[in-house]
């Protein structure tokens, strides 16, 4: 299986603070990988570098066999991102937002793509409503629709189900699983929700103080740490290793 995304000795310093420390990771095509870690572990910093929003201090990022640090644009066309912490323009309607992003990603038939997203994410009821008038769950669905408008081969998600009701959470997880399987997409998911990770991810990467301290499949990690849930494994690692 070929690596869609690969980092080598990736480092990010903010002044004297090392936020990401010598990170080597590799995501295979068609897999869903969780990026886990406590607050300040370096998840958002890592995601930002993998999106081109942050320049690494040193190290290498290859995405779709492009040197992403040198030239990120060829890869960005085939990627997308969603986070509850980055908003879409509040004054624009759902339709307007999706149209703008469809055009930004250079889609040929923007209107068809918008309608496909509206149908997929059940947005038709409020397609002409401004984003600021939507509930948190509705906003998350629109944000995911924006993230999938270009049918990305690589999808980076930062806590995609944070602060949502259980019904919406379940629907989004089922959708992401299906999208990944149908399109053969690669997904990197930063999350604090271990149930979500167990449900969606084949691989887990655990960060602590900017370092990759553990990686493996969920069953392998449970076996290694002798625990019944990933949450317990996460707590063990966050507290400094095997008890």
């Amino acid at each position: 299986m070929s690596a869609v995304l690969k980092t080598e000795s990736l480092v990010k310093d903010f002044g004297s603070t090392r936020a990401v420390d010598n990170l080597n990771l590799s995501l295979n095509a068609g897999t869903t990988t969780a990026l886990l870690g406590g607050n300040g572990a370096g998840k958002t910093t890592t995601l930002s570098m993998l999106l081109g929003l942050l320049i690494p201090t040193s190290g290498k990022i290859d995405i779709f066999d492009h040197n992403f640090v040198e030239d990120r644009y060829p890869a960005l066309k085939r990627m997308n991102f969603s986070s509850p912490y980055v908003d879409l323009p509040q004054r624009l309607t759902v339709r307007e937002n999706l149209t703008v992003y469809g055009k930004l990603y250079g889609l040929k038939d923007v209107q068809s793509a918008v309608m496909e997203m509206v149908e997929t994410f059940r947005l038709s009821e409020f397609i002409d409503r401004r984003i600021r008038r939507l509930s948190a769950g509705q906003k998350t669905r629109v944000s995911l629709a924006k993230a999938l408008i270009n049918t990305p081969d690589l999808l980076l998600l930062d806590e995609p189900t944070a602060s949502l009701d259980p019904e919406t959470v379940s629907w989004i997880r089922t959708f992401l699983k299906k999208y990944q399987q149908d399109r053969g997409a690669t997904i990197l998911l930063a999350s604090h929700d271990m149930k979500e990770v167990e449900q969606l991810c084949e691989n887990v990467l655990l960060l602590r103080k900017g370092k990759l301290v553990e990686e493996g499949t969920p069953p392998d990690l449970l076996k290694k740490y002798g625990r019944k849930t990933l949450e317990e494994v996460f707590l063990d690692i966050s507290r400094g290793g095997i008890p």
């Binding site: 903010f14 958002t44 910093t45 930002s48 999106l51 081109g52 929003l53 942050l54 320049i55 644009y73 960005l76 066309k77 990627m79 997308n80 991102f81 986070s83 912490y85 980055v86 908003d87 879409l88 323009p89 509040q90 004054r91 624009l92 309607t93 307007e96 149209t99 703008v100 992003y101 469809g102 055009k103 930004l104 990603y105 250079g106 401004r130 924006k146």
Partner: protein, 265 residues
């Protein structure tokens, strides 16, 4: 320019036009300030004209006010459109798309031109029946004056948006302050010779001073001073390139310090 760039610039233009369309106070505001300026300066002009006709000869006072406002409008329109992205915390989404910084700058300049024309044309038309002054009488030179000032406005905006990107919304007030820094040496309401010699040297480095000297020569003496406009254009090109560099350096600095995701917070 590649087709992909055209699509992305078009996408951003649509985004700014959607914002404009969504808010009637914004549309009114675009024309409101130039019209207010016109009314106030129109009456000032009538008042001074009664006592000292040479000050307001050929409607020069109203003409310079309107033309100066095109610089301010172009700058404010450019910067406010950029601020929309910061206020809505949308820069992260924009720059994870394959959008180049220069494409954003070109889109901002285009929407700024559209908004400036929407603001200035009604005010210029109102000046004809209310004060008997038509800036359109200047003919083609009006376009040269207008575009030179719009060009200066963009150069200032590039610096201001660069500062906003690097230092965040705390620097928002610079939007309103910086254009007025060049006003005293732009010689809008008085000729260059009014300034003390040392200040004239500074004014010679400012493109707007050549525009207004050229405008006075045309309106008051019917003389077309191409040399002055050439100098203004040359200086504008230099400042425009410098402004671009400032923005691109600030963009890189924002990417180094991780500010694109935080912008607006």
């Amino acid at each position: 320019m590649k087709l992909g760039s055209v699509c992305r610039i078009h996408a951003l233009l649509l985004r700014y036009l959607y914002v404009l369309r969504s808010s009637w106070p914004r549309i009114i505001e675009i024309s409101y300030w130039p019209t207010m300026q016109l009314i106030i300066w129109g009456f000032v002009s009538l008042h001074f004209g009664a006592a000292q006709p040479e000050i307001t000869a050929s409607g020069i006072l109203i003409s310079v006010v309107l033309v100066w406002d095109s610089l301010f409008r172009s700058h404010v329109s450019y910067t406010l459109s950029f601020l929309e992205e910061m206020w809505s915390r949308n820069l992260g989404n924009l720059f994870v798309a394959p959008l180049r910084p220069w494409e954003l700058m070109l889109a901002l300049a285009t929407i700024s031109l559209i908004r400036t024309l929407i603001g200035m044309i009604p005010a210029a038309l109102l000046a004809i029946p209310f004060f008997g002054v038509s800036v359109f009488d200047m003919g083609l030179p009006l376009l040269v004056f207008f575009f030179n000032l719009v060009f200066t406005g963009w150069a200032i905006s590039q610096v201001v948006t660069g500062i906003l990107l690097r230092y965040g919304l705390g620097a928002e007030s610079l939007t309103w302050v910086i254009p007025f820094m060049i006003a005293p040496v732009s010689c809008i309401y008085y000729p260059l010779s009014t300034l003390p010699a040392w200040l004239q040297k500074i004014a010679n480095l400012v493109p707007t001073s050549y525009v207004f000297e050229g405008m006075r020569a045309l309106v008051l003496h019917g003389e077309w001073r191409a040399d002055l406009l050439q100098k203004a254009f040359m200086l504008n090109c230099i400042y425009f390139v410098l402004g671009m560099c400032v923005f691109l350096i600030a963009f890189r600095s924002a990417r180094t310090h991780g500010l694109l995701l935080q912008a607006g917070e």
